[in-house]
Amino acid sequence: MTTATTETRFEPVAGWAKLPMGVTFKGDATSVAVDSKDNVYVFNRGSEPIAVFDTDGNFLRGMGHGEFVRPHGIEIDAQDNLYLVDDDGHFVQKRTNEGEVLFTLGTTGEPCEWQSGGMFNRPTDIAIHPETGELFVSDGYGNSRIHKFDSDGNHIISWGEPGTDPGQFSLPHNISMMGTDKVVVADRENFRLQVFSTDGEFVEQIHIHHPMSVTEGKGNDKAIYVGEMIPPPVQQGVPNLGAMIAVLSPDGEFQQHLGGPTPGAGVAQFTAPHGISTDSQGSIYAAEVAWTNYFSRPENSGTEEIPLGEIVSLRKWRRV
C-alpha cells in the first residue's frame, strides 16, 4: 500500500465490528492493533478486554477477562505477540497471540513516585522496533517520560521530563515508530508531536491539535496518522478543532482530515480517537474513549449515567 496523500480517499464503514450478544466495549474501545493477517485486536474497558475480530468485523475471540485494571494501549509485534499497556495497573505486559503472559514490566498496582521519571506512573502506549524488537513505552499520566527496553524487557534508557521545551513532555499519550530509526510521541497537552531518534535525541516537533494517538502506516505506507482530541471546554462546539484523524506525510506535512467538523456519534465523526492503527489494505481503525472523554459529560449527552445501549467507540475507515 502506498503512502497516503491529499489525494487518498477514505470512507467510514458503518457498524463494522459485529459484537456477539453480551459483549460490550462500554463506550471505551480505548486502543486497537492489527496483526499480520489483518485481524484486529481491541483493548477495551468492556466485558472482554481483548476482543479480536477479522478484517470484516466478525468476532473471533475474547481474552483477559478480569485481568486488567484499566486498558489503555495495545501494540502487536512482527511475530503477532501482544503488548498491553494498563495505565491504572501501572504495567506493560507482553502476551502471546493466544493471551498467554510472557513477561510483565512494572508491578501491577504499584506506581513509581509521581513525575519522578521512574517506571511507571500510569503508562499509556508502546511502540515496537520492527527489526530489533526493542520497546518504547510512553509514560504517561503521572510521568513525563519515554522508556526504552530491549526485546526481552531489559531497561536500556529513558528520556524526557515535565515541561514544554523540545524533549520535555506534558502528558506523552501515544508513541509510534517512524521507519526504523525514529519514534514519534503524541505530546498531548503540548499540542504537538515530537520526533526522536531511537536513542532519545530530539529531532523535531510538529504542531498539531491535541494529539491523543499516533501510528505509522503499514508496509510501504509511510504516512503518519494522528487522532486528535476535542478542544478544552472553553472552545466547546467550535468546528474543526479535534475529534478528527489527521493524515500527515512522512515528514509531518498535513495532508487531510477525516471526520469532523464537530465531535459526534455520526458515521463520519469521532468523539475521542484515543488509539489508532492501520492494516495492510491501508484502512484505518480508531478506538475511542467515547464514554470517558465525551458522552460522560452531561453537556454532550444530557445525562450523567451510561446509557443502556452501546456507544460507538470503534471506527473503521476503508481506504478506497
Partner: protein
C-alpha cells in the same frame, strides 16, 4: 530607552508594587498598558475599571466606573490614547488617557453571530501599527478572527477561521505588532503563536504553551514578550507548564524567561497571567485573572495578587 534583553538580562519581582488608595481594589487586573511617561494603566474588574499609577506604583487617577461590562484588554498608541477591549460588551473603545470616548467599534452588548467571522463576538485585544495607526483586533472567545481597521476606525479587512491549520485559530486571545510589517497572534487553545503580515498573509507558527498574552518592547527593545497560561486540569501541579513570561526575538527564538516552575502566590510566581506590558526601562508588568482562576474558588472567596511588576535590573 533600553536595548533588547539578552540571555544575560536579569529580572526580579517587585513585591507590592501597586499602592491602591483604600478601599479601591482590582478584583483582578485583566490587562495593563504603559504610556510614554511610563505611567501604568490597569484595566480591571473591580469597581474602578481603569486605574492609573506612576512607575513607582503610586496612584494617579481612575475613571470608567460603570462604563464597562467585562474588561479584557488594553493598549496605548504613540499619542497615549487608549484602546479598551470589553469582551462581554462586544466592543472596542478608543479613549483619551483622561477617559474621554473618541470612538467605539462594535455595538455595545450586541455580538455578531457566533463563529461567523464578523466583528465582534467577545473580542480580546488590540495592536496598533506605530506609524499608520492601523488597528488589529483579535476576536476572540466567540470568533476565530483578526480584524484590521484604519486609524479612524474604518474597517479594512479580516482573516482567520476556526481550526488548527495555518491561518486558523482556536481562541485568538492577544495580538501585538512584530516590527512594523507583521503582527503576532496568541492562538491560545492551539498552543502556538502565529505571525502574519499586516495584510493577513501567514508567515510562521511558533510552539508555545497556551500563549495568552503578547506585547512588543518599546523603542530599541525589539523583543516580543509572551505570557503563557497554565496547563489543563489533567496536568495541574506538573512543573514547567506555563505560568511564566518568555522573552523572544521577532523570529520567535527564546532570549530568556522568568517566573517560577510552578504557579502560586509567591512573589516570583504567577497564578493566571492574562496580559503584559513593558516600559521604557524594560521592566515588565503582568496582569492576571487570578480571581477567576483561583480566588473565586477559595472558601471564602478572596482577592489574590493580580498585578506583578518584574524590574529589569541588569543586562
Amino acid at each position: 530607552m533600553v536595548n533588547a534583553a539578552t540571555s544575560n538580562t536579569v529580572y526580579e519581582p517587585v513585591p507590592y508594587w501597586a499602592k491602591l488608595p483604600h478601599p479601591m481594589f482590582f478584583k483582578e487586573a485583566t490587562s495593563v498598558a504603559v504610556d510614554s511617561q511610563d505611567n501604568v494603566y490597569v484595566f480591571n474588574r473591580g469597581d474602578h475599571p481603569v486605574i492609573i499609577f506612576d512607575k513607582e506604583g503610586n496612584f494617579i487617577e481612575t475613571w470608567g466606573a460603570g462604563e464597562f461590562v467585562r474588561p479584557h484588554g488594553i493598549t496605548l498608541d504613540a499619542d497615549d490614547n487608549l484602546y479598551l477591549a470589553d469582551d462581554d460588551a462586544h466592543m472596542i473603545e478608543k479613549r483619551t488617557k483622561e477617559g474621554k470616548l473618541l470612538f467605539r467599534l462594535g455595538e455595545k452588548g450586541k455580538p455578531a453571530a457566533w463563529q461567523d467571522g464578523d466583528p465582534f463576538n467577545r473580542p480580546t485585544h488590540v495592536a496598533i501599527q506605530p506609524e499608520t495607526g492601523d488597528l488589529f483586533i483579535s476576536d476572540g472567545y466567540g470568533n476565530s478572527r483578526v480584524h484590521k481597521y484604519d486609524t479612524d476606525g474604518n474597517y479594512i479587512k479580516s482573516w482567520g477561521e476556526p481550526g488548527s491549520l495555518e491561518g486558523q485559530f482556536s481562541l485568538p486571545h492577544n495580538i501585538a505588532m512584530n516590527g512594523t510589517d507583521k503582527v503576532t497572534v496568541c492562538d491560545r487553545e492551539n498552543f502556538r503563536l502565529q505571525t502574519f503580515t499586516t495584510d493577513g498573509e501567514f508567515v510562521k507558527q511558533i510552539h508555545s504553551h497556551r500563549p495568552i498574552a503578547i506585547t512588543d518592547g518599546k523603542g530599541d527593545d525589539t523583543n516580543l514578550y509572551v505570557a503563557e497560561a497554565g496547563p489543563p486540569p489533567v496536568q495541574e501541579g506538573v512543573r514547567r507548564l506555563g505560568r511564566r513570561v518568555i522573552v523572544m526575538d521577532r523570529e520567535g527564538n527564546e532570549v530568556t524567561r522568568f517566573g517560577n516552575e510552578l504557579g502560586g502566590e509567591d512573589h516570583d510566581q504567577f497564578i493566571a497571567p492574562h496580559a503584559l506590558a513593558v516600559d521604557s526601562e524594560g521592566s515588565v508588568y503582568v496582569a492576571e485573572v487570578s480571581y477567576t482562576a483561583f480566588g473565586s474558588q477559595q472558601d471564602p472567596v478572596r482577592e489574590v495578587t493580580s498585578l506583578r511588576k518584574w524590574r529589569r535590573v541588569s543586562g
